[in-house]
């Protein structure tokens, strides 16, 4: 049974506990001391739920990275932990060359998140199936924040939309089933897009399969529904430059598994002064809202206001420290000293965020950044696409980063219904000449996905028709005191989030939240926010949905044996908080997360829990769709 929801929404920590327990149990099944060999792809997510100490506690002696070649082990047990990829299995099969089994070594292979038939087959073909003990290791949702769950899978978009490989869908469905076991059945499932439909079908099939795990699930009284956002419905959003603080960090510094790599000096002031100026050592820093209160305040803000926010915080801190002078009594001093620890850590995180802001600020002042932004805004607004092509060309000729140029070109293709054949061919030719012919497969893939196509397009590109009804482009948005989700892109409301609003915040689609009313104080001086309306489905937006290709999902789930009108009525209890789960299939961006968090703050009674296959930005999305860089030529 799940804990009652508190004001903040569901208790997602249980997923962390679940994974730790699974890990401990799995490792305990292998008796004796063991050497753990990790796939870096798994290590990142794993690091979010466990630490070295816990592993040591389970008799893990040493930890190595996955590599071909001989092992250097001192223990009888060798445990591999990796994704079920063929190249990994080949490496493991290669171990037979070293005759370890003769030494009495015991091999175990833990596959994340499950053992695939293909892997068994490869092991058999390599003739080592008998020597290796193969077990699944279930890794599902990892809570990155209280309101953010991620499967931390990479390349989902490539697998699902390009290769037609639905394995990620299957993993997602299992993770969502686990979620339903913890919190109850989603009463309603909404979604748009063919992959969203397939995922829904999988969920329903699990539920009705009679599997004992899922047989007697009750309909949840805390979660009012699941909204599946299929990435293929909205490619536009990830192509735009993210303008929130955390989004900018991801674009220009890079965030991986919620960790960011920064100079040690930023983390630890003293150390920086002692260090030689030349040594720029990088250290990983975990971006985590529950430990870093400043981050919570800053991350979802538009970058334009970060500077003034920081200076405000700095001044407040100064004031807090200054308070020491005015202490009159011993008890006052005591309480002040108690606060010091908190002040100190706040000061440290202030230093970090100021440092990061200083890194990004110069980028936002460059000519290139501003021209990219201008072209972006014009394309989104549908203003003079031909002129934007000239900007794209100029950027390319000046050898701006290839992903920047390509993102703009894709944006152009998506927003203006393809690019005329001649300019498109010229662009592709130039692009390959400037950045190298190894990008050709990427261009082909983009064409297959309908992201970079000639006009008239083979499949419909509905963006131009959605602009008005969904109010995607908003002129008067105040970055500092936003009244609409479009603040995250300084004037563009992410299509994906607008669709969520169609279901959960209908009036916000038609007009901006009325700030005056929201800010009006009631008698006791408390803000009275409008109550969130229940999830009413797609009603009122049928035309819009019709314009977007892909299936529409609108499903009700019931507990078995319960028929008819037994639906839970959420709206009866004025004070109950319900949670709506928004699942991004194919990854989401930090800006989309910011927009959802902002939405949750506009109404009473509903929280959003964001779940995703992974966190993406336009650049790493494109990288995952392309091929690996060619190796250096040798003679």
């Amino acid at each position: 049974t799940a804990p009652r929801p508190v004001e903040k929404g569901l208790e997602t920590g249980i997923f962390r506990e679940l994974m730790r327990t699974t890990l401990v149990e799995t490792l305990n099944e292998i008796p004796g001391a063991k050497t753990l060999i990790l796939d870096p792809d798994v290590a990142g997510p794993l690091g979010l739920v466990t630490d070295i100490a816990l592993l040591k506690h389970q008799a893990v002696d040493k930890i190595f990275w996955f590599e071909a070649g001989p092992l250097n082990v001192a223990t009888r047990n060798v445990v591999w932990l990796c994704r079920p990829k063929i190249k990994h299995i080949r490496i493991i099969a290669g171990m037979r060359d070293y005759q370890y089994t003769a030494d009495g070594l015991v091999f175990t292979l833990l596959l994340v998140p499950r053992v695939t038939e293909l892997c068994r087959k490869v092991l058999e073909d390599e003739g080592v199936a008998g020597d290796v003990n193969v077990l699944p290791f279930k890794m599902e949702f990892i809570p990155l924040e209280d309101d953010l769950l991620s499967l931390e899978m990479s390349d989902t978009a490539r697998d699902v939309y390009l290769n037609g490989d639905d394995t990620p869908l299957y993993y997602s469905s299992l993770a969502l089933m686990t979620f339903q076991r913890a919190f109850g059945l989603f009463p309603k499932i909404y979604g748009k897009g063919d992959a969203a439909k397939r995922l829904t079908n999988l969920l329903e099939r699990h539920h009705s399969s009679g599997d004992s795990l899922y047989a007697d699930l009750e309909v949840s009284d805390q979660v009012d529904g699941l909204i599946i956002v299929d990435r293929s419905v909205d490619w536009v959003t990830p192509m735009c430059t993210q303008l929130t603080y955390e989004g900018m960090l991801d674009e220009y510094v890079g965030i991986k598994n919620a960790h960011i790599e920064v100079d040690t000096g930023l983390l630890d002031g003293q150390a920086a002064e002692n260090q030689a100026a030349g040594s720029m050592k990088k250290r990983k820093h975990h971006l985590n809202g529950s430990k870093d209160t400043l981050l919570v305040d800053l991350r979802d803000q538009n970058f334009a206001v970060i500077g003034s926010r920081l200076s405000k915080i700095a001044r407040r801190l100064e004031g807090d420290y200054g308070g020491a002078k005015n202490l009159k009594s011993v008890s006052e001093m005591k309480s002040f000293v108690g606060k010091l620890g908190g002040l100190h850590s706040e000061q440290q995180s202030l230093r970090l965020h100021t440092g990061l802001t200083e890194m990004i600020m110069p980028i936002t002042r460059t000519d290139e950044f501003n021209r990219v932004l201008e072209a972006q805004q014009n394309l989104l607004a549908g203003y003079d696409p031909t002129a934007q092509m000239t900007i794209i060309e100029d950027l390319m000729y000046q050898e701006s980063a290839w992903a920047t140029v390509l993102r703009l070109a894709i944006l152009m293709s998506l927003t203006s219904g393809g690019i005329k054949p001649k300019p498109l061919e010229a662009f592709k030719r130039d692009f390959l000449q400037v950045y190298g012919y190894h990008h050709l497969p990427l261009l082909i893939n983009l064409q297959n996905l309908g992201l970079l196509v000639k006009s008239p397009p083979a499949t419909s590109l509905p963006f131009a028709n959605l602009r008005k009804p969904l109010r995607l482009v908003v002129d008067d948005v105040d970055d500092g005191a936003p009244n609409d989700i479009s603040y995250v892109y300084s004037g563009y409301a992410p299509l994906s989030i607008r669709l969520v609003q169609c279901i959960a915040q209908k009036n916000a689609v038609a007009s901006p939240a009325n700030v005056d009313i929201a800010a009006e104080l009631d008698g006791r001086g408390k803000k009275e926010l409008p109550k969130a309306h229940p999830l009413l489905g797609w009603k009122g937006f049928e035309d819009v949905l019709g314009a977007i290709p892909g299936a529409t999902v609108d499903v009700r789930q019931r507990a078995p044996g319960v028929s008819g009108r037994a639906e839970v009525r959420f709206e009866q209890d004025q004070n109950q908080i319900v949670t709506t789960v928004v699942f991004f299939l194919g990854g989401c961006t930090y800006t989309e997360i910011a927009a959802l968090r902002w939405m949750a703050k506009q109404t009473r009674g509903r929280r959003f829990l964001i779940a995703t296959t992974g966190i993406i930005n336009g650049t790493n999305l494109l990288e995952s769709l392309g091929e690996e860089k060619p190796v250096e030529l040798t003679r």
Partner: protein, 118 residues
Amino acid sequence: LEMEEAGASQSQEQRLDHLAAAAQSFGQHKDRAFEAKMTDDAHRLLTLQLTYEKELSSQGLKFAGLSVNQFIYELLLAGVNKRAEKVRADWKVPDKRFWWIKLKALAALKDWDGLEAF
């Protein structure tokens, strides 16, 4: 697929073979004329890069694997402007782009007279 293998193969001869095969299989598709042309260009580029490497071997220059832009840039840096012009003509590099490359190369060479003459 051949493109992938071309990228993965380390030796020049193998990569050239893969590119040729890729160009051929693209050529068999009627909608893939553009891709066929591009792979063919890639093949020609690598061949020319290898030729120039040999011709300029005294300077120990490495061109193989560069993009057209980088190639022209390196040729300009090496001061073999004729060859750079040939690449420009063969790959039909638009003037605007060529001047950007040239500008960068001149700046890198600190050839202020050349910049002046622009």
